[in-house]
């Protein structure tokens, strides 16, 4: 999901009709958008949820979608016609470094402050989000009057060229830009493993940029009042690249610019051929039968209605008997399956126009066996006067091991730890209960608490390296607490379920020697019971004797 800022006045100019804070939210249903409020500087904040519709991540794009609904679609004639200029891809090595480049020219722009802000925002969203941090797509903009066409796309060693990058006032070697320029440091990873980098040079051999790192200051610094712009894009995904430049071209055309097409000539094959002209139409049409609408939506639909509703959503529709072919505008390439067309139809028609209908088929509802066992056990614990707890289960490793006086037996650990406090999944619930006890010395005693919850037990034999189990753990703390008290509780609990449990001697570093036992049922170990070792209590700063037990309910369920 993307958040963009739009200037209310600029937006209304683009839309050609009045919109207020009050009326905007209803319009935004059409673009899967949410109005998030007005910033102190008067800008509207809008969140856009569809990650496959980058054409909507700008004021121009939202206005374009809304204009269609108002029957005010605009023609974009620049998707056909001859290309006036050329970009020549010179080196076949570029096919592995950064294979695709394309461009167009826009003339006659009258760019005000709001328009400039939108242009920068769009360029940023298209490169960083849609272009995945400039890897798939990056865009460069230059004052057209300074660029002498045709432009050549070449591969060069970073040591073999120099230019003044934006943000600096002296020429720098390509290798220095990668080393020292903030953008070089940020994006040089894209060229990792290559000895050469891509370079754009104009017909006077002036460097435009080392895409996608940084433009030349000489050619690539756009000044207020520049009415003609040269817009290029490079990247690893040609479909995404064409889409991004189409979107930018339409955005600029919506602001009064005249677009001139440019042809790129490749020395190697691309999915779109060896010659690609931009802006260019996409192979984005889809054919679908009327029956699909009926089946998926559950309402009666006629071809005529589909035609008019989708036209109002900016699509071109041609109907042939029961099959219709839908072509979305060249700023969209998100139709993967006929269901995508059906959704557009439903959105354009308005969700409020559908009459909800109750599910008709009978099904039986039931809880999972383990959940039922959990409930039985919880009821029993509550009956014995234990208070129920619920804890987070992504915890620190320290809490599970050192603070329990345990060694570093393996556990389910997170590789990309953000914060040491959330680095491992608990494999026992007793630490969670001790955590509560350590924060609750001021709560009226006695403390009898329990939790029934999930734990992940490390096991390399498990398909995922661990088993998720449900455990029950109980803890008793007060100044006269003894092991016999909790022993009686565990015995009562299991007797309630008709189970006759035996205690067996064991040793466990978290418990006092001689005051800890395994809970055995028919030779299977169900869990442990004992008095927490004062060494452990000290680590948790607990000044009260503590008894605890833990049972594995998965084992219990199978017994």
């Amino acid at each position: 999901m993307q958040t963009i800022f739009i200037d209310p006045k600029d937006f209304q100019d683009l839309l050609g009709s009045a919109v207020s804070e009050k009326t905007l939210p209803a319009y935004l249903d059409l673009v899967k958008g949410e109005f998030k409020g007005t910033d102190p500087d008067g800008q509207w904040r809008v969140e856009l949820n569809d990650t496959n519709r980058p054409d909507l991540w700008s004021a121009e794009g939202i206005a374009r979608q809304l204009r269609a609904a108002q029957g005010k679609r605009r023609d974009y004639p620049f998707f056909s016609g001859a290309a006036k200029h050329e970009i020549r891809v010179m080196d076949t090595e570029l096919k592995s470094i950064r294979p695709f480049v394309a461009a167009f020219i826009v003339r006659g722009l009258d760019i005000n402050e709001a328009a400039l802000v939108q242009m920068i925002q769009t360029q940023e969203k298209l490169a960083e989000v849609f272009g995945r941090k400039r890897k798939d797509v990056a865009i460069g903009i230059y004052a057209a009057k300074k660029v002498k066409l045709p432009v050549r796309y070449i591969a060069a060693k970073p040591n073999d060229f120099e230019y003044i990058p934006l943000g600096f006032d002296h020429p720098m070697r390509g290798s220095d830009i990668l080393e020292k320029h903030p953008k070089g440091v940020m994006y040089r990873e894209i060229f990792q493993g290559f000895s050469k980098v891509p370079l754009l040079r104009d017909d006077s051999n002036m460097i435009l940029s080392m895409p996608p790192i940084i433009n030349s200051r000489t050619l690539g610094e756009v000044q207020p009042g520049d009415s003609d712009l040269f817009v290029e894009g490079t990247g690893n995904n040609i479909n995404q690249l064409v889409l991004a430049l189409n979107i930018l071209a339409c955005d600029l055309a919506d602001r009064g610019g005249r677009i001139e097409r440019i042809k790129t000539v490749f020395p190697y094959d691309t999915p779109l051929g060896r010659e690609v002209v931009l802006p260019g139409k996409l192979d984005n049409a889809l054919s679908i039968s009327i029956g699909e609408f009926v089946r998926l939506l559950g309402i009666e639909v006629k071809a005529g209605e589909v035609d008019s509703v989708l036209e109002q959503y900016g699509c071109d529709v041609s109907v042939e008997k029961e099959t219709i072919v839908v072509t979305p505008p060249p700023t969209r390439n998100d139709y993967l399956h006929p269901v995508d067309v059906v959704e557009d139809f439903a959105i354009a028609r308005g969700y409020q126009t559908f009459q909800p209908c109750m599910p008709k088929e009978f099904t039986l509802g039931k809880q999972d066996q383990l959940s039922l066992l959990e409930n039985t056990i919880r009821d029993c614990m509550l009956g014995m006067g234990y208070e129920e707890m619920i804890s987070n289960i992504l915890v620190s490793k320290n809490m599970l091991r050192d603070k329990m006086n345990l060694g570093d037996e393996p556990m389910v650990e997170v590789a990309n730890v953000m914060n040491e406090s959330y680095a491992a999944l608990r494999d026992s619930i007793i630490p969670s209960l001790l955590e509560i006890e350590s924060h609750s010395a001021s709560a009226l005693y006695p403390h009898r608490i329990f939790e029934v919850g999930e734990a992940a037990v490390f096991d390399l034999n498990a398909p995922h390296g661990s088993y998720t189990q449900v455990h029950l753990s109980g803890l008793v703390a007060h100044n006269r607490a003894t092991l016999s008290e909790i022993h009686a509780d565990v015995e009562f609990l299991l007797q309630q379920m008709g189970l006759d449990i035996q205690l067996a001697e064991t040793s466990h570093p978290s418990f006092l020697p001689g005051r800890v036992a395994k809970l055995m049922l028919h030779g299977t170990c169900l869990g442990v019971l004992g008095e927490i070792h004062p060494i452990v209590l000290e680590k948790w700063d607990i000044l009260m004797p503590v008894l605890a037990f833990e049972l594995n309910l998965n084992t219990l369920l199978h017994e």
Binding site: M1, K32, N49, N52, V129, R132, N239, L296, L297, G298, I299, L336, H337, P338, D340, V342, E343, A346, I347, Y351, F354, P356, C357, M358, P359, K360, E361, T363, G365, D368, S371, N375, M381, L382, G383, M384, E387, E388, M389, N392, L394, V395, P410, V412, V414, A415, N416, M418, Y422, H439, S440, L444, R448, E454, A456, L460, G465, S466, Y467, T468
Partner: protein
């Protein structure tokens, strides 16, 4: 009215207190000390109760001082060391100083101090070294006076200083036990004394209590012996005071958040849903790929999931699902989709992570689900967000699926309306378009709740064919999710999600579950 109520609920001690006070309307703290069979600590308690009930009030406070004998003073009541020495010398004419100092029962220190003061006063003289004799002309009255004072104090036990002469007070202060001094004859006491009197309300209460014949002998505890000998028949029972707080009760209690889940589980099973459960550690395949999230999707960044350190990957993915899903991503496979058009990487799919969404359970359930079928899960999920008032390190999602031949968009809306009314008690429902990578069409549900107004209830949609067909499901499937944590926070009236998992017992004990149904 209030007086009657107070009179009816008087504690036996309060009734005894009224008796002890008799007809007095004003009295001091100490006045009632030895009256009746009330102990002084009970009396203090009763006075505090009566003050709290505004039956009596403080009209003045003063400081009372009195004196009593120490143990030593008690020992001197018959004779002081000085008196005994004078007596001894009087009998024997001359006595060796050593002999006097060794008089029976005298502490050497006391003896030497007594000898010193007798010599200083000129009562004892030394006719020859080491020997002492009585000076017949000496005035021994001061010694007698002190002894008389000790006797006087000893007689009364506690003697208020204001009943003594200035000289006596001076003497007492001179020989009283002071802090840190081990010996002394007198012990001085002082106490803040309040002068109290009955208020108009108090007088009224006392009057009513007397009129209704309450004595304080009413039965407090009914005992088995009273029942067996029938003695209860001749006595009255004390009324229970409804206005005093009972002792605090500790009891077994469901955690409010779990209780909320119990309610949701009950409602969903009531609507015909069966429960799904699964593993906390999942493969990226089920978490993402099976849900048709392309491997290049921005939401699949390393920062959007917790990956497992060891083992990093699952050894083998479940077939035929892995191949079928991979095909759907690549070119649509048999789903009639054009797919995402990229090279699918099985190694990316094998990567293990902590599940980020409950929908992973729905994805896993598809191939084993019944048609028609309705399923739900309340699943713990994990996302690497900065932990704050809206993000917990792990959190619960409530999700599920509905499979059926007659499933379509209007049924989806109907189901959501059912959730809104049955699960969330909504008064009004609104649907808005939404985006999820795995559903199309997708919808967001907003409800108007009677107490909190408009809120987002959840999201839903119809699974994309790219999700269902690779799992062998050829009927439409609704996928839905409800924002449980938000609903719970509203029902529990808390505004910090971390409080749902509080490790402070006091906080848990004070959180109440508000949802009525």
């Amino acid at each position: 009215m209030k007086a009657k109520e107070l009179a009816e609920t008087l504690h036996p001690l309060e009734l005894k207190f009224f008796d002890a006070v008799g007809e007095q309307t004003r009295f001091k703290d100490g006045d009632l000390e030895n009256i009746g069979d009330i102990s002084s600590s009970q009396l203090r308690t009763v006075i505090e109760w009566q003050l709290a009930k505004e039956c009596i009030e403080v009209i003045a406070t003063s400081e009372d001082k009195w004196v009593e004998l120490t143990e030593l003073g008690e020992a001197y009541r018959t004779a002081t060391p000085e008196q005994r020495m004078i007596e001894c010398v009087r009998e024997q004419k001359t006595v060796a100083a050593r002999e006097l100092a060794a008089l029976e029962g005298l502490d050497p220190k006391e003896a030497s101090s007594a000898l010193g003061s007798l010599s200083k006063a000129g009562i004892l003289v030394s006719p020859q070294p080491g020997m002492l004799a009585l000076n017949a002309d000496a005035d021994i009255s001061p010694i007698e006076k002190v002894a008389a004072l000790i006797k006087k104090v000893g007689m009364t036990g506690k003697l208020p200083l204001n009943q003594l002469t200035d000289w006596e007070v001076e003497q007492i202060e001179k020989v009283s036990r002071k802090r840190g001094k081990s010996k002394g004859v007198f012990r001085l006491h002082s106490l803040q004394v309040r002068t109290l009197r009955f208020t108009a309300l108090g007088k009224e209460v006392r009057k009513i209590a007397k009129l209704t014949g309450r004595s304080g002998d009413e039965i407090n505890l009914l005992t088995p012996s009273m029942l067996s000998d029938g003695s209860w028949k001749k006595r009255n029972f004390r009324r229970y005071n409804l206005n005093i707080s009972p002792p605090r009760r500790l009891a077994g209690r469901r955690h409010p958040y779990r209780a909320f889940f119990d309610t949701v589980r009950r409602k969903l099973t009531g609507l015909g849903f069966s429960e799904m459960r699964g593993e906390l550690v999942e493969s990226a395949f089920w978490n993402n790929d099976a849900l048709f999230m392309p491997q290049f999707h921005s939401a699949r960044d390393i920062h959007d999931a917790y990956y497992i350190k060891h083992p990093t990957s699952v050894k083998a993915l479940e077939e035929p699902f892995a191949s079928q899903v991979a095909q759907a991503h690549t070119d649509g496979g048999g789903t009639n989709s054009r797919g995402w058009q990229y090279t699918f990487d099985m190694n990316t799919s094998r990567r293990l992570l902590l599940r980020t969404q409950g929908t992973v359970l729905s994805a896993r359930w598809l191939s084993q689900a019944s048609v028609p079928g309705k399923y739900f899960a309340i699943a713990r999920c994990f996302r690497p967000d900065q932990v704050d008032s809206t993000h917990a390190p792990d959190f619960f999602q409530c999700e599920g699926i509905v499979l059926g031949k007659s499933i379509d968009f209007v049924t989806l809306l109907g189901l959501l309306e059912l959730f809104a009314v049955e699960v969330a008690k909504a008064e009004e429902v609104k649907f808005a378009p939404a985006y999820f990578p795995f559903t199309e069409p997708s919808v967001e549900v907003h409800i108007r709740h009677p107490e909190v107004g408009w809120m987002e209830l959840g999201g839903a949609g119809i699974f994309r064919p790219e999700v269902t067909i690779p799992q062998g499901v050829d009927v439409p499937v609704i996928a839905w999710g409800l924002g449980l944590d938000r609903m719970a926070m509203m029902a529990l009236e808390i505004d910090d999600i971390r409080d749902l998992f509080s490790s402070d017992l006091n906080k848990v004990r004070s959180t109440h579950f508000l949802m009525k149904d």
